[in-house]
């Protein structure tokens, strides 16, 4: 139980390199891509949005090199809660689909409002959270 449910050597990827470039490199809203990744993953997990993008060819970071304990914990917790695939690699893909799903939602809001309205996002997620938590915690996980 102590190891991750996705391979340690797994590379976190995205289908939306342009969004990462805009929010992290240009607008400098996040210091590192992994910070946006975990936020996007949290949004995707709570709102239950999975991206239907098939090809994720932009590497963000190899999981084994994520040293920030907080980010590792978020990935660990969420992967254990949302990923249902029996295979570790497949669970990794599932995790990335949630992260990109959350990212697409963040990007849509960002384009509508013109800014990353974090308080609005936080409130929105709080509203959805209670139902989703009950749903997530009653599911049988393969791990």
């Amino acid at each position: 139980m102590s190891s991750l449910v996705i391979p340690e050597g797994y590379t976190l990827r995205t289908a939306h390199a342009d969004i990462y470039a805009e929010l992290v490199d240009d607008k400098k809203l996040f210091k590192r891509s992994i910070h946006l990744f975990t936020v996007a993953l949290a949004v995707g997990a709570i709102l239950n949005i999975k991206s239907d993008q098939k090809k994720r060819d932009h590497d963000l970071i190899r999981l084994s090199t994520v040293t920030d304990q907080e980010q590792r914990l978020v990935i660990d917790i969420l992967s254990r809660i949302v990923c249902k695939e029996p295979d570790k690699i497949a669970r990794g893909r599932e995790l990335l689909a949630y992260a990109d799903g959350g990212l697409e939602k963040i990007w849509k809001d960002y384009q509508e409002v013109g800014v990353l309205d974090l308080p609005r996002l936080l409130e929105k997620l709080k509203g959805k959270c209670s139902l989703r938590i009950a749903e997530l915690l009653t599911q049988n996980q393969p791990w």
């Binding site: 910070h35 978020v74 974090l118 959270c129 938590i133 915690l137």
Partner: protein, 641 residues
């Protein structure tokens, strides 16, 4: 003079016919006209002056014609002023006919049409027109009725210039007396010449008579030189006044530039704070995922508590190890039940996924304490909103000031050039005055010499005709001297009266009535402040702010206005832009007292509804000048209350 209406037709930004009603109700002397800068506030002020006194010298009258109408071809621009004066109805129209020639607008001569009680007046000659208007309100005196709040500070400038003396002489009617004295001088001079001529004709001592006449010519030449110097001095003074006016404009712009600089510093500081806030937010955003997961983290902490407890694990383990295979409830433990116990125990020993998650969320909670993070997050967001809101107001104020300042990048160069011209004019005035003094001494010496020689010859001559002429001349001289003494006495008396009135007004307007006693006008016509301790200091020595200067100048103008005892409206353009809140409140409260009809042209930046609240019962009507939404080059007049 009581204004009724002002009609503007194609005059500057007023396209087509625009009218404003100046009639006032009993005990409500105020008319307020609000307009943003560059909409037509000063134009309306200038229109009244143009209608009465025509275009100032060196003004291209084409500039009075509305730009849109200029493109339409030929036409007419006019300003009509309708008013009552001396119980009669007056309608005065000053117009400019214009046409196009070679693609350029050509303005014809400015025409004046005046009607009294509906009867057209025959005023063909410029002199006739001037006399007609001067009888209503002399142009010179109009400066105490129609004035720009920003330009009246010339009265407080150092060194004391002729403005104060001229102003006092003018309103007291001393100008007329001085004109009469000038006439008397001329008569005296002519009598002198006639006597010289008579003596030369009749004198037995021909040589002495010729000498007297030659002295008389010298005296005349010296007088012409003095008059010429006076003319040149006057011209230099006019240049000086224009320079002062221009410098005062620059000074107002400079003040605005300084204000803008301060606001720009404030803006930069806010931008820095916003950037710093954003940097902190960026740093903070590494905890954002934990914050978003806060409700989940809390829930996981709760569910962990319900995982298999320790006592249950111990009991199951003991039962499985017991060879009797009997449960605590005394029922036998079948193989099926045994298998179920083993599975439960296995899960408990392995730790349940929920327990694992619970532990992980505890770890995450330690890494990122969400309650603290949430507070920190909202505090930072609130701070950012404050900064951004302040930034918006500061940027708005900068934009407004920039519009008022306009594109004057070469302000210092222009100001330096005007200062040079001013310095040259001051130098010229000093030089002309010095030369004039010398000429006056020579003139006095020659005149005395001439008069002595003339008297000597006339006494020697026994001819009756000569005696008569001599006696006539002597009575003229006595009369002239008496008049000079009378004027001096009148000036002194009137000066005291103006001083008294100005002091009264000043004490009402000043923001420090405990410090001051009033205003004094010195024999050199310098305005001085009298303090409570009895000290008398020149205004410029008090180093007053531009607002305080404006209050002192307003007091002086109000005193002259009252002293004229003329029934005329007061029109004030930009009344309070340089005043601090206390001065502003005092000046605003004073407006209903200044005249029986007071028209205030102001921009929203200097006065607002709150400032007018103490005098709202004195307001007859309020107007707004604004750009026509359908034609941005045209201003329209709207009555707002």
């Amino acid at each position: 003079m009581r204004l009724q209406k002002l009609v503007l037709n194609n005059f500057k930004p007023f396209y087509g016919r625009q009218m404003i009603d100046f009639s006032t109700e009993e005990r409500r002397p105020l008319i307020l006209i609000r307009a943003n800068n560059d909409v037509g506030k000063t134009t309306m002020f200038d229109a009244v002056k143009f209608c009465l006194y025509g275009a100032p010298p060196r003004i291209d009258t084409v500039s009075y014609i509305n730009r849109t109408v200029r493109k339409e071809g030929e036409g007419r621009t006019f300003v009509t002023l309708i008013f009552y004066h001396g119980g009669k109805h007056y309608q005065i129209t000053r117009s400019i006919d214009f046409s196009q020639s070679n693609g350029e607008t050509v303005a014809e001569r400015v025409k004046l049409d005046a009607r009294v009680e509906g009867v057209p007046q025959v005023l063909e000659m410029i002199n006739e027109q001037n006399e007609f208007i001067e009888a209503i309100l002399p142009e010179d005196a109009s400066q105490f009725f129609f004035f720009d709040g920003e330009n009246i500070q010339k009265y407080t400038k150092h060194p004391p210039r002729k403005h104060i003396k001229d102003a006092i002489e003018m309103v007291l009617g001393i100008r007329e007396l001085l004109n009469a004295k000038e006439d008397l001088d001329r008569i005296q001079r002519n009598l002198g010449h006639e006597l010289d001529h008579l003596l030369r004709k009749k004198a037995r001592q021909k040589e002495a008579a010729e000498e007297v006449e030659s002295l008389a010519n010298e005296v005349d030449n010296l007088e012409s030189s003095i008059n010429e110097l006076d003319g040149r001095t006057k011209q230099a003074e006019k240049t000086l006044a224009e320079c002062d006016k221009e410098l005062s404009k620059y000074s107002a712009i400079r003040e605005k530039i300084n204000q803008r600089k301060q606001l720009e510093q404030q803006r930069d500081q806010l931008l820095e704070q916003i950037n710093s806030n954003k940097d902190e937010q960026r740093e903070f955003n590494r905890h954002l995922a934990a914050l978003l997961l806060a409700p989940l983290i809390r829930k996981l902490s709760e569910v962990r508590e319900v995982s298999i407890p320790h006592w249950k694990r111990v009991t199951l383990s003991m039962l499985l190890q017991d060879p009797r295979n009997v449960c605590v409830c005394r029922r036998p433990i079948t193989p099926k039940i045994k298998e179920m116990f083993e599975k439960t125990l296995d899960k408990a020993i392995e730790r349940s996924p929920l327990q694992y998650l619970g532990e992980k969320t505890d770890e995450l909670f330690n890494e990122a304490p969400v309650d603290t993070l949430e507070k920190e997050f909202y505090a930072r967001i609130a701070q950012l909103r404050d900064f951004e809101s302040n930034l918006t107001s500061v940027k708005g104020a900068i934009k407004k000031l920039s519009e008022e300042i306009g594109g004057r990048k070469d302000l210092d160069i222009a100001a330096t050039s005007v200062e040079k011209t001013r310095a040259r004019a001051v130098e010229q005035i000093e030089c002309f005055e010095k030369e004039k003094k010398q000429k006056e001494i020579q003139f006095a010496v020659k005149r005395r010499e001439h008069d002595r020689e003339q008297r000597k010859l006339a006494l020697e001559e026994s001819d009756i005709e000569v005696t008569d002429k001599r006696e006539h001349l002597e009575s003229c001289q006595a009369c002239n001297e008496a008049m000079e003494a009378a004027i001096d006495a009148l000036v002194e008396k009137s000066k005291r009266k103006v001083e008294e009135l100005a002091s009264k007004v000043f004490m009402k307007l000043t923001n420090a009535p405990d410090l001051y006693e009033g205003i004094q006008i010195t024999p050199e016509y310098e305005l001085k402040i009298v303090t409570k301790g009895g000290a008398i200091r020149p205004v410029w020595d008090q180093a007053p702010s531009s607002g305080a200067s404006q209050v002192i100048a307003t007091s002086f103008i109000a005193a002259l206005n009252r002293y004229t005892a003329r029934e005329a409206p007061v029109i004030i353009d930009t009344p309070a832009s340089r005043l601090d809140p206390i001065h502003k409140a005092n000046v605003v409260r004073f407006y209903p007292e200044i005249a029986s009809q007071v028209i205030i042209l102001y921009h929203p930046g200097e006065l607002d509804e709150k400032d007018f609240r103490p005098i709202e019962n004195y307001i007859s009507s309020e107007w707004l000048l604004k750009r026509n939404p359908e034609n941005r080059d045209a201003t329209i007049i709207l009555r707002t209350s």
